[in-house]
């Protein structure tokens, strides 16, 4: 691995390196990671929809150059996106249709920071870039490639804080990556991460008693995850493209929040959705039960007990929220969060029932209902 991961520098760059007290010798490859001062990085596209290098570490606000060598027998490009925007760019490239090839499958989005256009086999091209602190995905946006063919550029002054490369959530996991990666080290725990997976942790844009849930990946829609607030007992937001990165929160003093890995596609803006009679009840969290690892949350609204279980909509971006209610004497209303681009399908006692003006009226005695949110 070492020999195929090489490093180019001019005499001038060497001087620069020596002027940096933090880098006293040429950057050394550790696993698939290397640290660069101001330099040129060569990335090779290989057979099997992969970049040979999946993690680059650069200094923030320092110019560097990427050379893409296409060593595969298929065409590939390389698009650098804003943090957490890989899937959005990949999906936009998919929708370019016949127009795509002409534009190298690089969508016209503000999330695209830089790109190397589509390269025929054995061709080489370069780009030059300066990044602020952050984790910037790079991805091949040729249709279908972007789900697995990607990597990350970490622009950081603290490369030691990065997780090991095989635990880096921004780096694609490969089943055939060999013994080192395949056994044990892929997980942050002494067991393999199995989805659905749940973390109680500090999440952004949520109360401090947050729950992050990662759902099983879907062959077409990818992985979806959501954040549920155990303080206010409600769904807060959902995203695609991954689960979470908790390393920052676990390490140090715990002040840093867990990060969303992927793109948030839905953020609740309506507040607590239940009304009992005309009153807005104060919920009390009761915990959860795991049903085939899916958390079924319990909370009480006064005398009414609620459970909520959330699944991904198969093949589509969206969530199915299944609720049960204990017997109650008052009608219950569930308010749908009316946002542009969010479509709802609702069922009461397993029968399609439509909401009126965003209000799903549940007659007294309703024991179950579901709300399917689609965000295409």
């Amino acid at each position: 691995m070492l020999s195929t991961f090489y490093f180019i520098s001019s005499f001038w760059l060497w001087l620069h390196l020596f002027a940096e007290p933090a880098v006293t010798k040429p950057p050394v490859c550790q696993g698939a990671t290397a640290a660069y001062a101001d330099t040129t990085i060569v990335i090779r596209a290989l057979a099997g929809l992969q970049y040979e290098q999946t993690r680059l570490v650069v200094k923030p606000k320092t110019r560097f150059r990427i050379v893409l060598e296409n060593a595969d027998d298929m065409s590939h490009n390389l698009v650098v996106t804003r943090p957490n925007s890989r899937m959005k760019v990949v999906e936009a490239a998919l929708k370019m249709g016949t127009d795509g090839a002409k534009k190298n499958y690089v969508p016209n989005l503000p999330e695209v920071i830089a790109n190397i256009p589509l390269l025929e086999p054995s061709h080489t091209d370069t780009l030059t870039l300066t990044l602020d602190e952050g984790a910037y995905p790079f991805v091949c946006t040729y249709p279908g490639h972007g789900y697995v063919m990607y990597g990350v550029i970490h622009a950081t002054r603290e490369p030691k804080r990065l997780p090991p490369v095989d635990e880096d959530p921004y780096v694609p996991k490969r089943a055939d990556a060999g013994d080192h990666a395949a056994h044990g080290k892929q997980s942050a725990h002494p067991y393999k991460m199995t989805f659905p997976a749940l973390y109680r942790t500090f999440m952004p844009e949520c109360g401090p008693a947050a729950i992050a849930v990662g759902l099983p990946a879907d062959p077409t829609a990818g992985q979806q995850s959501y954040c549920w607030d155990a303080g206010s007992c409600r769904l807060r937001y959902a995203w695609t493209g991954g689960f979470v990165d908790s390393y920052g929160h676990w390490e140090g003093n715990g002040n840093r929040l867990t990060k969303v890995v992927g793109d948030i596609y839905y953020n609740d803006r309506s507040g607590f959705p239940f009304r009992i009679g005309t009153a807005t009840p104060v919920p009390q969290f009761k915990g959860y039960e795991l049903v085939n690892r899916y958390p079924k949350f319990s909370y009480s609204l006064g005398s009414v007990q609620v459970t909520e279980l959330i699944r991904a909509v198969p093949g589509k971006r969206g969530l199915v929220r299944q609720f049960t209610l204990s017997a109650g004497k008052l009608p219950v209303t569930f308010l749908l969060d009316q946002q542009e681009g969010v479509q709802y399908q609702t069922r009461i006692n397993n029968v399609v029932a439509s909401a009126k003006n965003g209000r799903l009226e549940l007659p007294a005695g309703t024991r179950q209902f579901s709300v399917t949110m689609l965000v295409p």
Partner: protein
């Protein structure tokens, strides 16, 4: 003749060479690959398995016989304590709540996580740890809530009522019951039990069932402390007072240190900084009935920054608890970071380590009693004129009767807003008389001066056992003298 003289001189100076590792051994327990062993809690299940929870949210079981680990529960937020309920159910204290975790289908993996109590605030500040639970003989549960640190702010969204009067100071309590010990009764009633804590990482009981809490050196704590916690009392860190019923609508920091001093209940034992402990952790009473050696009934306290535990020697003076602390297993194979302690059914003492954000270390070890009795201080009682020291073994008379074998110094720690305190008004205290009991185990010392409000630090000299084979295992002992013995009280002594 010359040879005989040489030999006798040699014998006279030859010091006993025993060490604590002749009596106890430390074993390191292998942990699963991939587990970050920042130990938040350990306990033993009724069936003898160890249950342990870790920083990244895992609750795992370890079978000491098969030496196999298995996962019981996952996904918790910084769990810092666990106690068993039955072989398939535990209670875990995690940041947001006390949770009952059950395996209801018998497959060995938890499937139900019930919120037992989340009726306390969270500002989102990283320092708002939650410690415990521990259970008393009547079934009441207790847990303790850390204050927040001004090393960081609070979140935009918080849980619980916000009170800006509690937001002042280095460590603050702007949401309910930060800096409190809470009691949860068996019928589910949550009672704010006692206030005035800063960072109460250790909560437990002594052998008599008295509720104890350790707190960490910092603002208002000149050094780390052990408190005997009783309902309604205030233990000295002011921030939590805003959540006391009937407390006026003022910032507690506007009270003078003298006012706060008059309100507070002092520690039972101060752990002198640098010398004894930097960050005391959980305590556990030796109720093994001798399986763990000669310290039955005594209290052990964990410590983060030194490779040792601390042993506590209680004293009761006119019905009030005070006492002394002394190292245990110092530099004898334990790592640092000794955060959680639990006695196994076989009488070995298990130690879960943690380094989270502190010095510490990671891992799991256990201390096993081998045999014999080290020469160690077993009791330290205040008398009207000094102290009675009782040792585990008869002492060699020559050394025991020398005044020079007992070097005392006294000092106090300031009670003030600043972080920590220097050792203040430090003075050597002369020992004017030494008496040795008939059984040679108890030394009665007369001191030149006894002053309340001071720590009496005693450094023992070259004491050795009467048979000359053992040297005193720990030389440093620090007695917290809150209360003097009233002159009328007779001192119970062993016969002179």
């Amino acid at each position: 003749m010359l040879l005989t003289l040489f030999l006798s001189t040699l014998l006279a100076v030859a010091a006993p060479a025993d060490t604590i590792t002749d009596y106890y051994t430390v074993e390191t327990i292998p942990t699963p690959e991939g587990l970050i062993v920042e130990t938040g809690g350990i306990a033993f299940m009724p069936d003898g398995r160890l249950v342990a929870c870790f920083h990244r949210g895992e609750v795992m079981m370890y079978h000491p016989k098969t030496r196999k680990w298995s996962l019981f529960a996952e996904g918790l937020h910084d769990p810092l304590g666990v106690i068993p309920v039955s072989n398939n159910e535990v209670l875990v204290m995690q940041r947001p709540e006390l949770t009952r975790i059950k395996d209801t289908n018998g497959d060995g993996v938890a499937d139900r996580y019930e919120t037992v109590s989340d009726q306390f605030g969270m500002s989102g500040n990283y320092h708002e740890f939650a410690f415990g639970p521990v259970k008393d003989a009547k079934g009441n549960l207790y847990f303790s809530l850390n204050t927040a640190s001004n090393g960081a702010g609070i979140r935009d969204e918080i849980r619980g009522r916000y009170d800006s009067l509690g937001r002042q100071g280095r460590m603050y309590a702007c949401v309910p019951y930060r800096g409190w010990v809470m009691q949860l009764s068996p019928d589910g009633k949550l009672t704010p039990w006692a206030s005035g804590f800063r960072s109460p990482n250790g909560i437990g009981f002594d052998a008599k069932g008295r509720l104890l809490v350790t707190d960490n050196q910092g603002d208002w704590l000149g050094t780390s402390k052990l408190y005997y916690v009783e309902k309604g009392k205030f233990y000295g860190h002011p921030a939590s007072l805003v959540w006391r019923e009937g407390f006026p609508d003022i910032d507690p920091l506007t009270l003078t240190p003298a006012q706060l001093d008059s309100m507070r209940t002092r520690e039972v034992v101060a752990f002198p900084h640098q010398r004894i402990a930097h960050s005391p952790t959980q305590m556990v009473a030796d109720k093994t009935g001798g399986k763990f050696g000669p310290y039955a009934g005594q209290l052990f306290v964990g410590e983060m920054d030194f490779p040792r535990l601390v042993r506590v020697l209680f004293d009761e003076v006119d019905g009030e608890l005070q006492g002394a602390c002394i190292p245990f297993m110092d530099k004898a194979g334990l790592r640092m970071g000794n955060n959680r302690l639990a006695f196994a059914p076989d009488g070995s003492l298990w130690v879960g380590q943690n380094d989270h954000g502190w010095v510490g270390a990671r891992g799991l070890q256990r201390i096993v009693y081998k045999q014999g009795v080290p020469l160690d201080l077993m009791d330290m009682h205040l008398t009207a004129t000094g102290f009675d020291l009782t040792f585990s073994q008869p002492l060699d008379e020559a050394a025991a009767r020398q005044v020079a074998s007992y070097a005392f110094r006294r000092f106090y720690y300031k009670y003030h807003r600043a972080y920590g305190s220097p050792e203040t008004d430090s003075q050597p205290v002369a020992v004017s008389d030494v008496k040795l009991s008939a059984d040679k185990r108890t030394v009665s010392l007369t001191l030149g001066e006894l002053k309340k409000g001071y720590v009496y630090e005693l450094t023992l000299g070259n004491l050795r056992s009467a048979d000359g084979k053992k040297k005193v295992a720990n030389r440093l002992v620090c007695y917290t003298l809150n209360r003097l013995k009233s002159p009328g009280t007779a001192t119970v002594r062993t016969k002179p």
